[in-house]
């Protein structure tokens, strides 16, 4: 099963997230991550959804998405080069005395420590999913108390991607 990152431009209508998410469920797809936010045009939002499925099944999913009245365009970013980023906040079990040591670990990841408490501190990191996973492995030795991740944000590189035709 391949991983796919799909960008969906939608009308910013109440219920549109439910419609899109329901369609994934209805057609037997699991949503691995979903992010939604504003787009370059007022009134439209962009959803980035990562999911799995073979080529033919994804193609069918995209056509079904197009049938939703509030969907404007559907693009499978995975078909071309694209940039993807995720943000994570990681609460690590550590005391202020370990700050320097932890800084040395997170710095190569261009992560930052954004909060320090008596028994814990919070690391903020952005990057692709693998990079965040890698940092988590390193931090695990200290004890991870809590993790929150945004899921992928993604965009095609340089050229404007052509939306899937219907």
């Amino acid at each position: 099963m391949q991983r796919h990152t799909i960008a969906i431009l939608v009308n910013d209508q109440p219920g549109v997230l439910t419609r899109v998410a329901t369609l994934f469920g209805q057609r037997g797809f699991n949503i691995d991550s979903i992010t939604v936010g504003g787009s370059e045009e007022p009134g439209l939002s962009r959803m980035i959804i990562t999911t799995g499925g073979d080529e033919q099944k994804i193609d069918q999913l995209m056509k079904q998405l197009y049938k939703l009245i509030d969907v404007i365009t559907v693009t499978n970013l995975s078909e071309n080069a694209f940039v993807s980023r995720e943000l994570a906040l990681i609460k690590v079990s550590a005391s202020p005395s370990q700050l320097a040591e932890l800084n040395a670990i997170v710095e190569p990841f261009r992560a930052t420590i954004v909060d320090v408490g008596p028994n814990s501190l919070i690391v903020q990191v952005t990057g692709d999913t693998e990079k965040i996973d890698a940092l988590l492995v390193l931090l695990e030795t200290y004890g991870i108390i809590e993790v929150t991740r945004t899921g992928s944000m993604a965009m095609a590189r340089s050229v404007v991607p052509v939306p899937a035709s219907v």
């Binding site: 197009y66 049938k67 009245i69």
Partner: protein
């Protein structure tokens, strides 16, 4: 404030509509419906739609008060399938709205245009679990083409306009409009948009010249071509074009269940229905064809049997559909044409040439003669197939037949030869028991002068038989033919064949006396138990100027054959024990 009030002259006997006047949301809705040329409304009132029902009082609309919202929506569906015009249904909030759910799903699966209007509690109460509150837009997301929750009365005209547009264009389907009571009561000056503008929604689908050329090219090379004509023939109104095309190219035509009537069942090129309970020739045609031309058919698993790799193994598949998501969805397709069937055939007709198919047609005719649908007649026992033959012969194939779901549905599809488009109305996709009878009411209301026969099982009829009241109340002359085998026949058949005769929970011997039941509703009731009685009783029923229910007591153990068991391929067909 003085407003400029313009009046739009009524068309086709419709009352004039005033623009610019301050009116309530309820009145706004009704004016929109007039402008959409709606004549009949099927529905059931309740608290949340009281403003709408108040506006309906004494209005121009003909409202049919069914006895259950499911009856209302199936009737609206039958009306839509019989006419091609959208069916309109109104239900109140909460239980009224949820009672529509089965009907909405039924319409969605068969691509039937419906506009479903539900009331909801006032917006101040939305989200509080208020009395009779249900999130009906949420509940129906997976079973509607689109839906609206109206927040502001000023949006209502645009929403109604869009709803009708979406329901009736492209691949048709049900659209729901949920109107909270405060919006029905709010006032605003009435205006109706002239045009619909929905970004990214494509509604008219004319295929490209290039696609049509490829389509014609592939067909012209075929020696054993077959057209598989689906419901898209009927919804796009392409029956005449199909006929001209098949005749010009000399291609035999299979009608899928949803496509019955889209090509005359009595035509020399007609092969009838394929699939699980389809006939031998239609299935052999698919197995041996070198080119299968799917026209508005979706290669459903009742035809492919879910074994899509082994389906039509020797054929290149050419597929025309208005919904691009259907192309390549179920089977691998050589040529895909995105377009409605009618405009595709219109474009293809001048280009098409006669195929070299005479040998193939001769082979198919041989099979047809050798393996027709068949059953054993008996003198004293009435066979269900015999009843359907009787219905066919007595109406010369000119009636509108609606069916419920079960064995009788399959026999109706097999033994009635449909001559005209929109004359076979049945729940194909969802297989909804309880559909057939109310759908007949809708069809009869649409065509008061035609013979409309509801063919129902004794099981399914009891799911919506309270709508008998409608027959007397509105003088709707539907003829109901109950194929009464005193059990859930189709379930019985599966239990016999696949569960070792373990007949679990199928006994309907304790049903009401259907003759008395009908009479209790003021409808004529008749009964027949032998072939002879059946003839006499049915003649009486047809002659009777009004609704009739006929209880045909048929043999219980009869099975629907031929049959391809689920999971098998079309060549593993059981022809039956006759």
């Amino acid at each position: 404030m003085s407003v400029q009030i313009a009046e739009l002259q009524g068309k086709n006997g419709l009352p004039p509509v005033k623009f610019g006047e301050e009116v309530t949301g309820a009145e706004t809705l009704l004016r929109c419906l007039i402008l959409e040329q709606v004549e009949y409304i099927f529905g059931y009132p309740g608290g949340a739609v009281l403003p709408i029902y108040d506006s309906l009082y004494g209005s121009y609309f003909k409202h049919i008060l069914t006895r259950h919202e499911q009856g209302a929506i199936h009737a609206a569906d039958g009306y839509a399938r019989a006419t091609g015009k959208p069916g309109v249904v109104i239900a109140t909030s909460g239980p009224g709205a949820t009672n529509l759910v089965t009907g909405i799903a039924t319409a969605q699966m068969d691509s039937v245009p419906l506009v479903c209007i539900t009331g909801n509690v006032p917006q101040s109460l939305i989200g509080t679990d208020a009395f009779q509150e249900a999130n009906i837009t949420g509940i129906t997301i997976p079973i509607t083409k689109h839906s609206y929750f109206v927040r502001d009365v000023r949006d209502l005209p645009r929403i109604v306009k869009e709803a009708f547009h979406i329901a009736t264009t492209g691949r048709p389907g049900p659209v729901l409009i949920d109107i909270p009571k405060d919006v029905s009561n709010a006032v605003a000056p009435f205006h109706y948009p002239e045009k619909v503008e929905i970004r990214a929604y494509k509604s008219t689908v004319v295929p490209s010249d290039e696609e049509v050329q490829k389509f014609v090219q592939v067909i012209s090379e075929a020696k054993r071509p077959v057209i598989m004509a689906g419901g898209g023939i009927i919804s796009s109104g392409a029956d005449k074009e199909l006929r001209a095309f098949a005749e010009a190219a000399r291609i035999p035509v299979i009608n899928t269940f949803m496509g019955l009537g889209g090509f005359p069942g009595v035509h020399e090129l007609s092969l009838g229905m394929p699939g699980m309970h389809g006939n031998y020739t239609a299935n052999q045609a698919l197995l041996n064809a070198d080119c299968v031309i799917g026209l508005g058919a979706r290669f459903d698993d009742r035809i492919t049997m879910g074994r899509t790799k082994e389906f039509a193994p020797k054929a290149r598949i050419v597929h025309v559909d208005i919904d691009p998501a259907e192309l390549g969805k179920n089977v691998e397709t050589a040529i895909k044409v995105t377009g409605d069937v009618k405009s595709t055939l219109e474009k293809a007709l001048p280009l098409v040439s006669r195929c070299d198919s005479e040998e193939w047609i001769a082979q198919l005719k041989k099979w047809q003669a050798e393996y027709p649908y068949s059953y054993k007649k008996e003198d004293q026992v009435l066979k269900p197939q015999e009843v359907i033959e009787l219905l066919y012969e007595s109406t010369d194939g000119e009636a509108i037949i609606t069916t419920d779901v079960g064995q009788h549905q399959m026999w109706a599809a097999q033994y009635y030869k449909f001559k005209h488009t929109r004359s076979f109305i049945s729940s194909g996709g969802l297989g909804t028991m309880g559909f057939g009878f109310p759908a007949a009411i809708g069809a009869q209301i649409a065509h008061p002068d035609r013979t409309v026969i509801a063919v129902v099982g004794d099981g399914g009829f009891q799911m919506t038989n309270q709508e008998l009241a409608i027959l007397s109340q509105y003088k709707v002359p539907v003829k109901v033919a109950i194929i009464n085998n005193q059990c859930l026949g189709m379930v019985r058949q599966w239990q016999e064949l696949f569960y070792d005769n373990r007949y679990s929970e199928i006994d309907l011997t304790c049903s009401p006396d259907f003759v008395k039941l009908s009479e209790a509703y003021g409808v004529k009731g008749l009964r027949a138990s032998t072939p002879e009685e059946a003839k006499a009783v049915w003649a009486e029923a047809l002659q009777h100027d009004g609704p009739v229910v006929v209880d045909f007591r048929v043999a219980q153990g009869e099975n629907v054959y031929p049959m391809v068991a689920a999971g098998n391929t079309l060549d593993q067909m059981v022809l039956g024990d006759e």
